[in-house]
Symmetry: C2
Subunit: 321 residues, 2 copies
DNA sequence: TTGTAAGCGTTATCAT
DNA sequence: ATGATAACGCTTACAA
């Protein structure tokens, strides 16, 4: 590999000292304009670019933002990656994406890796609290995305709000029997659903919460639970797109048609929602990343809790006929 | 931000010299075992991790692999990202993902950025030949993925093969009138289709190649072209999943049912294929990334052309009834 | 086996 | 306005 040119090389070619080259590169106004022109000519001629490692070592800033994601199974992470890379790039920062695969040890490893690389900030969709405590104790510049955790700076989509507007939308289409399929009974999306029911003085039956372990496992379990429903819903809200897909397959097996017999509304609004043509709740990904990066670069380390409103994307299949 | 510990700090704490700490960290066998134990104890106690920038600066190796992707619109890139991050991580490398957005200037910028960061290798889904020439001239350690270009090291899915097996599959289901929808008439997928037709002494009508500009634009154009077909196909092969989705919508408008009236087979096998339940041609993403990284780390810079076979993923909707 | 010293390519503090 | 010089934290001779 051809060795890159250094400021020393450029200096020699321009007949100036190396620090002068540094001054030119960094736009230091004390440089004589004639000298500046000479140096700049050589720089562009030879295509010189300053060595980042040396810069980082000296300045303690790598111009890198580290992003640790919980996993990359949900397609909505692709939008996140696209968004964060774009926003960071526009601000002169490079992004390192790391996948913790839901593993707290790997997450810790990633944190150490990023620290060793002197990253200027870390965006994390966290696996484990103790790792966040570690970041805090180390006084790292970091922000949690995707979840709201009291003692750490967070930026997240309000899933409570999401649950509410999802239910409200279905309600406006005359649905009163609405089920929720998701991973956790303390799920904020579910709470949003229940809150809306309360506000309308409607009863949300226990069996209308259908628990699934994760993304697309437990198809059999889902099937069993559907069979055991005593009061079959007219609409389903699913915690993500993939569950919606599985649900549609299951309903199809039972001869139920979407949207004729049953309405479905999903969370995440990935391309799957488009493919299935179902209404979905979208995360404001770009806004989240813009806010996250703005916080890291200008946030002065105050602990914030920033909640963003999800967006309802309406599509035909939710129409109740 | 709390300053990270350095080898100097550890050395002082352990009562040894800084290079000895370096030797311990790097597993140099010349270190006395008693000393090693003492140093290691302190290292783990204080959680020391060597500064990457200093290492990079000194050793000229950053332990970073740069990945420049053409765009991030196709969901199949998420699998690529997941795969490359995993494989690289297992080899002790960190990945930087960059999105050239199909823009040659941005691609060049990314290349310079990666060079300045002393990356140990670059994986690139290229926009522009001149940028590849630049990499070559600079004697960069790089490999092209996703396309086969004669004068550069490449690893790619054989799309010719893909076109063939796609057609073969449909043929085995009794289709003889098969159209291809894609971006470019010199498309290898299309050539594969045509080659299979030749082998079977069948005629591939000109109108069976339906050109689309890109991913999901030109819905209107697609519609027009479908209307103008004189010899309507019984099956369609689409250059990617998103086109398949648009096609299904268009056919739906015409009252045509998939797979009852028309069969569809797509390329890329993203989750959209699953959602639509259509047969698809899958890129061997993991294998591609394993090979790419293996080449970069152990490839000795020989120029290779490695073709990988695509995989046919059969699903119901292609069944011809 | 271990320590001393030089050097990687920058930035920043001095002089001049 | 510019040039020496030190320092960032590490690896790698070379000396001891």
């Amino acid at each position: 590999m051809k060795k890159n040119l250094t400021m020393k090389d450029i200096a020699k070619l321009a007949g100036v000292s190396q620090p002068t080259v540094s001054r030119v590169v960094n736009g230091n106004p004390t440089v004589d304009s004639e000298v500046r022109a000479r140096v700049e000519k050589i720089i562009s001629e030879y295509g010189f670019k300053p060595n980042s490692s040396a810069k980082t070592l000296r300045s303690n800033s790598s111009k890198i933002i580290g992003v640790i994601l919980f996993d990359l199974s949900n397609y909505y992470y692709l939008e996140m990656i696209r968004s964060v890379e774009k926003v960071a790039g526009e601000n002169g920062y490079t992004v390192i994406i790391l996948n913790s695969q839901g593993d707290k040890l790997l997450e810790k490893e990633h944190i150490l890796n990023l620290q060793a690389r002197n990253v200027d900030g870390i965006i994390i969709a966290p696996v484990d609290r103790s790792n966040l405590d570690f970041l805090k104790k180390q006084n790292e510049n970091f922000i949690v995305i995707d979840s709201s955790l009291p003692h750490y700076p967070c930026i997240y989509t309000s899933l409570l709000q999401g649950g509410k507007i999802a239910t409200e939308h279905l309600y406006s289409l005359n649905h009163q029997k609405i089920a929720f399929i998701g991973a956790d009974k303390r799920n904020l999306k579910l709470l949003g659903v229940k809150e809306f029911f309360s506000e309308k003085n409607m009863v949300f039956l226990d069996e209308w919460f259908i628990e699934t372990d994760s993304t697309n496992s437990n198809l059999d379990k889902l099937s069993l639970k559907l069979d055991s429903l005593e009061n079959f819903p007219t609409a389903f809200i699913t915690s993500n797109d993939v569950i919606a897909l599985n649900l549609i397959k299951e309903l199809g097996k039972r001869g139920l048609n979407i949207p004729k017999d049953i309405s479905i509304l999903s969370f995440d609004d990935t391309i799957i929602s488009t493919a299935l043509n179902i209404t979905s709740i979208r995360h404001p990904v770009d806004m989240m990343m813009e806010n996250a990066i703005d916080y890291l670069l200008n946030g002065k380390r105050v602990s914030i809790q920033k909640s963003l409103n999800p967006i309802l994307i309406k599509r035909d299949s939710t129409t109740f006929l």
